[in-house]
């Protein structure tokens, strides 16, 4: 299985950078997410995660998303649902969310994700 790397593109800041490491299971999404046809960007990411967890290896997800629109939030929720099902079936998965203390609403967003998916997210302010 290969790692999934999507580098940030300066002219398209509405795509986050992605780094999913197939060796270590350490995954990261960084930047902003408000692209058109959101599912086309997220489907390969969800496919990668579904394939990775078939190996029953530990996974660590680091969300460093400073903004995501409601379309993106729908797909982030799908990712968290997959993590929660993996966790409930005995898989090792840890989710971290780094948020800017100057963002007045991000903590509520993360709490909503936890309530909806059932997945615990460790919040790390910066």
């Amino acid at each position: 299985m290969e790692s999934l790397i999507i580098n940030e593109v300066k002219g398209s800041p509405y795509y986050p950078a992605v780094s999913f490491n197939a060796e270590t299971g350490v995954c990261e999404m960084r930047g902003e997410s408000y692209m058109e046809e959101t599912y086309k960007f997220y489907e390969p990411l969800i496919g990668w995660i579904n394939t990775y967890i078939l190996q029953k290896k530990p996974l660590e997800m680091h969300f460093k998303l400073t903004y995501f629109n409601t379309n993106s939030s729908r797909l982030i929720l799908d990712i968290l649902d997959i993590f929660n099902k993996y966790h409930e079936s005995g898989g090792s998965v840890n989710v971290y969310w780094y948020y800017d203390k100057k963002d007045p609403d991000m903590v509520e967003e993360i709490e909503d994700f936890m309530a909806e998916s059932g997945m615990e997210i460790k919040m790390i302010p910066f």
């Binding site: 002219g11 398209s12 800041p13 509405y14 408000y34 692209m35 058109e36 599912y39 903004y67 629109n69 409601t70 379309n71 939030s73 729908r74 797909l75 929720l77 799908d78 100057k102 963002d103 007045p104 609403d105 509520e108 909503d112 309530a115 909806e116």
Partner: protein, 174 residues
């Protein structure tokens, strides 16, 4: 497309009328974050509402225009105004007359709910939303949650098949 009314252009910081692409949204969004001088927390909220409302125009305006690479995007307008106590964002776009009732129901329902009820509605709406098209409803809920203010909206007749949807909300400076 109708001319932007005077009431939406007074003390205007930014105005645009035409096809709304993601590149345009991104470019002018960075302008909001970089060049409007105000407290970061207020500008973060302004940016979030700006993205949701302009992308609703881009996705759901019934007036489409083909831009570069054959991409079809929605046509409409938006303005950002500043007053002593708040920033106001307004968007306008043509809609199908048949969608007017649904949009009116969405906005009236949202305006009647408190913050906790809105969060609950957002969770329920998101859980039921389709992956390929979450719809305009959740964007309006998020806009109201982020702004903490009412959604001011109106639907004016255009012709037999179309209406014009104008929606506006405030981000308070405190």
């Amino acid at each position: 497309m109708p001319i932007i009314k005077e009431e939406y252009q007074q003390n205007c910081l930014l105005t645009y009328q035409g096809p709304i692409t993601v590149n345009l949204v991104s470019f002018l969004g960075n302008y909001i974050k970089s060049f409007i001088e105000y407290d970061t927390k207020v500008l973060v909220r302004l940016f979030k509402i700006y993205i949701e409302l302009t992308q609703n125009v881009s996705y759901y305006s019934s007036e489409k225009q083909q831009v570069k690479n054959g991409v079809n995007c929605g046509v409409g307008w938006f303005t950002i105004q500043e007053s002593d106590d708040s920033f106001r964002i307004t968007t306008g776009n043509r809609i199908l007359k048949s969608d007017g009732k649904k949009l009116t129901q969405y906005c009236n329902e949202i305006n009647q709910l408190n913050e906790e009820e809105l969060r609950d509605l957002k969770r329920k709406t998101r859980a039921q939303a389709m992956v390929r098209d979450v719809g305009a409803h959740i964007g309006l809920i998020q806009t109201s949650l982020t702004s903490g203010s009412q959604l001011d909206f109106k639907i004016d007749p255009v012709d037999r098949l179309h209406s014009f949807f104008t929606i506006s909300t405030k981000v308070m400076k405190q």
